[in-house]
């Protein structure tokens, strides 16, 4: 019981459950999952589908943050990916052919990889602070996306492309499958290999990691590439969701949501230890929060207030000070360390 209470993710999960309960109380079939033509439908499925792009972006962000960095350009990169994907499909002879769509996606992801390389270059080679390095692409990126779409909202009809955003496979929404696959992939890659530990060492103490022969530059660099790739994938999903490449609004402010998700999940912005499951919980909390606003019919003008209250509540409950107090009530008093570090 104590262990459970002290778990890092205890309060975020409580918040998540509370939101789900509130929704269910308001709308009893909130938890119901129906099948329609063999596809799963229902609020929860919707939630997962809508949360998929955010999860992708947040996964990349988690890795970047673990190295003490931050990537503000994710939204712009997503917009670029969507713009490239849809513009290519629109221009192709046969928009409905899977081959066209495959090429479009490959092209978009390829460009995103280049953008990631660019970010990584600014951070690792030129040594520009990550927040500014990625701010450059955040600003310019939407311009590039608009340049690609000519300032229009490109609209296309292409069934295979649309499937990326709204399709089903084995009864499950394709975006959910993609996001889950990426999550599992990243988890395996970081936890089954030594990648996770090495990234964390770079985040905790860069000089020490360097002396230990960790190729900090290579790792940091690739983390930005990964982040851009995942953002690109998210961008394709966002574009496919409405089949429109909206250079201005696709993935707008997604960087803030992603960072928030990462932090709610218990990964510190100071770098170091990261938690992928935490990020997943964070994403679910944020996505459920947005849905709750609609479900409960909260007025648009108080929506930000509502969000602020929930975020503050989760953060305070998670805070060491409050946990210490809670723990103190349950156990014989412990030495309260005012500094985390000990000589």
């Amino acid at each position: 019981m104590n262990d459970l209470l002290r778990h890092r993710l205890f309060w975020p999960v409580v918040a998540l459950v509370a939101l789900v309960v509130a929704n269910t109380a308001h709308q009893p079939d909130f938890l119901a999952i129906r099948t329609l033509d063999g596809h799963l439908f229902g609020s929860l499925i919707n939630l997962l589908r809508q949360g998929s792009p955010l999860l992708l972006v947040a996964l990349g962000m988690t890795l970047v943050i673990a190295t003490r960095g931050i990537d503000l350009s994710v939204g712009a990169v997503a917009a670029i990916a969507g713009a490239i994907g849809l513009t290519f499909v629109a221009g192709a002879g046969d928009p409905a052919s899977p081959a066209t769509v495959a090429i479009a996606c490959a092209l978009a992801l390829g460009v995103c990889a280049v953008l990631g390389v660019w970010n990584g270059f600014l951070v690792t080679v030129l040594g520009i602070q990550p927040i500014i390095a990625t701010l450059v692409l955040m600003t310019a990126g939407r311009g590039i996306a608009m340049l690609i779409t000519g300032g229009q909202i490109t609209t296309v009809t292409s069934a295979p492309f649309k499937a990326i955003g709204t399709g089903f496979w084995l009864g499950l929404p394709i975006p959910v499958i993609i996001a889950a696959a990426v999550l599992v992939g990243v988890a395996l890659l970081t936890r089954r290999t030594a990648l996770g530990m090495l990234i964390e060492s770079v985040g905790v103490n860069p000089p020490a990691a360097r002396l230990a022969g960790v190729s900090a530059r290579g790792l940091t660099w690739s983390v930005y590439v990964v982040s851009a790739l995942f953002s690109g994938l998210a961008g394709l999903m966002i574009a496919a969701n409405t089949m429109a490449a909206d250079a201005n609004n696709a993935g707008l402010f997604i960087e803030l949501d992603a960072i928030l998700a990462v932090v709610i999940g218990g990964t510190s912005l100071a770098g170091g230890k990261f938690s992928l499951s935490g990020t997943l919980v964070g994403v679910l909390v944020i996505q459920t929060l947005s849905l709750t606003v609609t479900m409960l019919g909260i007025s648009p003008s108080v929506t930000p207030l509502f969000k602020a209250v929930v975020v503050i509540a989760v953060c305070l409950a998670q805070s060491p000070a409050v946990r210490e107090r809670l723990a103190a009530r349950r156990r014989p008093p412990a030495a309260a360390a005012t500094t985390p570090e000990v000589a």
Binding site: H26, Q27, F30, L36, F41, S43, N46, Q50, M146, G151, Q152, I153, T155, T166, I238, N241, T242, M243, A244, D246, N248, N249, A250, L252, S290, L291, V293, T294, M295, L296, G297, S299, P300, S301, T303
Partner: protein
């Protein structure tokens, strides 16, 4: 030497009657805005006797004020702009007035006590747009009890406030029409879709969607279709703007009615600007001719729709 910004611009002080016009655009936040920009850029050309200085404020009032100040410093002949916000322009407009540069507003009005700060306003009436949408709903669908959900524009923006108000006004005396929910979809397709998905979860009895712009309506269509319903039949959609994608959906019967909000302000602006520079009197308020379309009208209009 180059200290006084208001010194005459060298480009047009000879016999040559090119008009230097500084245009401060809001941004490029939507397809509508891009069409608006295109119209202005393609009308105010050198061939038509204009030297256009164009700037994009990226949706920020401070950038727009900055741009106007800079136009004053550069000594243009006319300043035109689409204000991001209604209020807060007195100071900079005063500066323009002192420098003797006439100002023309497009698309959105400014809220000021001093009418002399600008020459003319060209644009639509957002309240009227909302009212027309509301009237259509009330007359055509409100013959039996219906539930309406509203997809609002960006919270606090003038079009969102005015369209909501106009719509509410128009349906006020029809007890059949009830707005059961209203959320912001931020004028974007993606959010329009997300919010509509939420609406569909939260309410099983939606008859009509009123979207403050076409993009949100298009997003809502996606959501309705994904939920296995037929837009235009099970749920009817009304929206405002009349961009090409919206008109296509209207022609396909997915949207039932669109109130136009005409972005092609270029020709009007050119005409007014010439008059203002020539010192001729102009109307203080020029409301653009906005049409409204149903399916038939859309089919007819679509082939030569430019934006």
């Amino acid at each position: 030497a180059c200290s006084s910004g208001s010194s005459a611009n060298t480009a047009d002080n000879g016999g040559d009657d090119t008009i230097t016009i500084g245009f401060a655009q809001v941004g490029a936040e939507s397809g509508w805005r891009t069409a608006n920009t295109d119209s202005i850029k393609s009308t105010l050309t050198a061939d038509n006797g204009f030297d256009l200085k164009f700037s994009d404020a990226q949706q920020k009032q401070e950038n727009q004020i900055q741009a106007i100040r800079s136009y004053i410093a550069q000594g243009v002949d006319v300043i035109a702009f689409s204000p991001v916000v209604e209020s807060g322009w007195d100071a900079v407009l005063q500066e323009a007035k002192q420098a003797g540069i006439p100002v023309i507003l497009t698309d959105r009005a400014v809220d000021t006590d001093d009418d002399s700060l600008y020459e003319s306003f060209i644009g639509s009436d957002f309240v009227e747009e909302g009212r027309r949408a509301g009237e259509w709903v009330s007359q055509n669908l409100g013959t039996e009890p219906i539930n309406v959900v509203e997809l609002q524009g960006t919270t606090g923006s003038a079009p969102a406030i005015d369209r909501k108000e106009g719509f509410a006004d128009a349906i006020a005396d029809n007890s059949n029409v009830t707005v059961i929910d209203s959320q912001t979809g931020n004028f974007t397709r993606a959010e329009g879709k997300t919010v509509m998905e939420g609406f569909l979860q939260a309410h099983s009895d939606i008859d009509v969607v009123f979207a403050h712009n076409d993009d949100m309506a298009l997003g809502a269509i996606e959501a309705i279709e994904a939920a296995g319903k037929v837009p235009g039949k099970d749920i009817k959609l009304i929206s405002i703007d009349g961009v090409k994608d919206g008109m296509t959906a209207l022609a396909d019967g997915k949207i039932s009615y669109i109130v136009e909000c005409n972005p092609l302000l270029g020709p009007d602006l050119a005409e007014i600007a010439k008059k203002v520079v020539a010192g001729e009197p102009v109307d203080k308020r020029i409301v653009t001719k906005d049409e409204a379309f149903d399916q038939e009208a859309a089919k007819a209009a679509l082939p030569d729709r430019k934006y």
